[in-house]
């Protein structure tokens, strides 16, 4: 199997006031190019910690992470992140927010008109041409998140990292964005790692679902292959036996095998 992103024996320990806190241990995972992988688990299981490690925002305590054969030494535009709270700069318009990213990645090779064309293309892709020159506070949460996705994709990253990108949105908007994300991924053949706690979202979008055990010292519990043909249609899948099976498998993992912490917390 091609190892486009490789995570090798990775562990993460944080120094806290109460001493060392082991967040992650023994993470081994490889991603193929163009694969969509979801990380799922109860809150506090270190999903976001793992995503931050792939992003390079934090460094692992043990082990190594590789992307396209090179060690991940820090954050960079080749591993674009879509943040949960969109993280658009409020003093820039949607266009300018994306342009900032485009300019960083392509300005050495391309002139201004080309950069602007790229920015416009990214905005068009997420269907926000009419809101290009609005400020983030003038648009809805779903639109902001789309700008965040457009910003990430405009950099033509090797890997797209999404940290619960639709977590703060209402169910209808979330469904719309999921459908649109599937279309975009099909078009761009992006390699995606998405953190989520939504079982349906994970099954609908992913090629594989990485299920994580409860923290502290969380690790990968099971990996589920989602062998559903693409393009996937939400309505038809609802009655698809394979879909139902996948869904049940994830639910079983979360609420039977990893249920004990929930009880402890409650």
């Amino acid at each position: 199997m091609e190892k486009f992103v490789q995570i090798d024996r990775v562990g993460q320990t944080f120094d806290t006031k109460k001493g060392k806190f082991v967040a992650l241990r023994d993470i081994d995972l490889s991603l193929r190019r163009g694969e969509f992988v979801a990380l799922i688990g109860h809150s506090g299981c270190g999903k976001s910690t793992l995503l931050n490690l792939i992003a390079g925002l934090t460094k692992p305590t043990t082990g190594v992470l590789l992307c396209d054969g090179r060690e991940i030494a820090g954050p960079g535009p080749e591993r674009a992140v879509v943040f949960q709270n969109h993280s658009l700069l409020p003093w820039l318009t949607c266009f300018e927010n994306i342009y900032l990213a485009v300019e960083r990645v392509f300005s050495q090779k391309e002139g201004k008109p080309k950069l602007k064309a790229r920015t416009q293309a990214a905005i068009d892709m997420v269907g926000l041409a009419h809101a290009a020159h609005k400020y983030p506070h003038e648009i809805s949460g779903g639109m902001k998140q789309r700008v965040g996705i457009a910003r990430a994709l405009s950099m033509e990253p090797k890997v797209l990292l999404m940290d619960e990108p639709f977590g703060a949105l209402d169910a209808l908007t979330r469904a719309k964005l999921q459908d649109e994300l599937m279309k975009i991924c099909e078009k761009t053949q992006a390699t995606v790692v998405m953190v989520t706690h939504d079982v349906d979202e994970a099954v609908l979008l992913s090629d594989r679902i990485v299920m994580m055990t409860n923290g502290p010292a969380a690790t990968i519990g099971e990996i589920l292959e989602v062998n559903l043909p693409r393009p996937r249609a939400r309505l038809e899948l609802a009655n698809d036996p394979a879909y139902i099976q996948c869904r049940a498998a994830v639910l079983r993992f979360l609420y039977e095998k990893q249920a004990h912490v929930e009880k402890m917390a409650a």
């Binding site: 992140v81 900032l100 990213a101 809805s140 209808l172 908007t173 719309k176």
Partner: protein, 310 residues
């Protein structure tokens, strides 16, 4: 409705009002229609209060301060009814009319109109304050950005900040050999601390999210400063500037009393020597009003800038 939201992808989502999705179940609005809808609702909200309501709110805003001012003058009037060293309001008013009849006369360096005196003080404040901004704001940025520098400089700032700016006046006189730059120097010293501290605090409080964006995009330090830090810090910086100009205006009066020359502070001292107490009271009002205008102008500027920034 749920089928709609699943099929039409992005185009069906409305920017503000979710209730309007009902209308979209038959046809999806174009982008143009959506923006039109939005602007009309905004206009409807803006045209809200009627003329009489506006008058009432204005009355509520103006009446209490006016009453307070009248009360102050009333107390002053009663307190000075029986004569004494302090002149009453009417005497001061007459003197003020006389004074402001020709605010810009010039009979040599020791006898100039009140206008010239105020302008001279403002000029000193402007120069000292401007220089302090030039030094203090970049310094605040650096202290906020680099923890090592902050740890290095913070003890010094803590030590020097509580010192009365006037204590620096002799040092200024010694170094510059002249009164005018020494006064400016005093203003510089007193205005620099709030600007350093507020700017540094603003830099330290820039949301981690924005900095993560900067890290993921791998922006250059220049882009980080211009596109992320500066706009994020601007409100803090403006607070620092406002505090600075307040203290600067406080200090200039005292500094000028000591250095002499032309300026509102010196003028107060001069009138004390001439025993023109009514002029001293006028000066107090002038100093207060100029300080108020400076402060309000900066608040206005801050509102304008941060509105554009957010």
């Amino acid at each position: 409705m749920s089928t709609l939201t699943m099929n039409d992808g992005f185009s069906g989502e409305l920017p503000v009002d979710r209730s309007t999705t009902v209308t979209t179940s038959t046809e999806v609005p174009t982008a143009k229609e959506m923006t039109m809808e939005q602007t009309t609702t905004v206009k409807a909200v803006d045209a809200g209060p009627s003329f009489t309501e506006m008058l009432a709110t204005m009355g509520r805003a103006v009446l209490p301060p006016l009453l307070g001012l009248l009360l102050l003058i009333g107390v002053w009037y009663v307190a000075t009814l029986n004569g004494g060293a302090i002149p009453g309001p009417s005497v001061v008013w007459d003197a003020a009319l006389n004074l402001f009849a020709d605010p810009f006369y010039d009979n040599g360096p020791n006898d100039q109109g009140i206008g010239w005196n105020v302008l001279a003080s403002l000029e000193r404040v402007g120069i000292g304050f401007g220089l302090a901004a030039l030094v203090g704001i970049p310094m605040g940025f650096m202290i906020g950005r680099f923890a090592f520098l902050a740890n290095m400089v913070n003890p010094i700032i803590s030590l020097l900040r509580p010192v009365s700016p006037l204590a620096w006046l002799p040092i200024g006189l010694l170094v510059f050999q002249r009164a005018d730059p020494a006064a400016t120097w005093t203003i510089f010293i007193c205005s620099i601390w709030p600007m350093i501290m507020n700017t540094a605090q603003g830099v330290q409080r820039v949301p981690q999210d924005y900095l993560n964006v900067a890290r993921v995009l791998d922006l250059s330090e220049w882009k980080i400063v211009t596109k992320i830090l500066f706009p994020a810090v601007l409100p803090y910086m403006l607070t620092g500037i406002r505090l600075s100009i307040g203290t600067a205006w406080l200090v200039i009066v005292a500094a000028e009393m000591l250095t002499g020359g032309v300026g509102i502070g010196f003028w107060v001292w001069d009138e004390w020597n001439n025993l023109k107490v009514e002029h001293i009271i006028i000066a107090i009002f002038i100093i207060g009003i100029v300080g108020l205008i400076l402060e309000q102008a900066l608040i206005l500027l801050a509102k304008k800038l941060t509105k554009e920034a957010s």
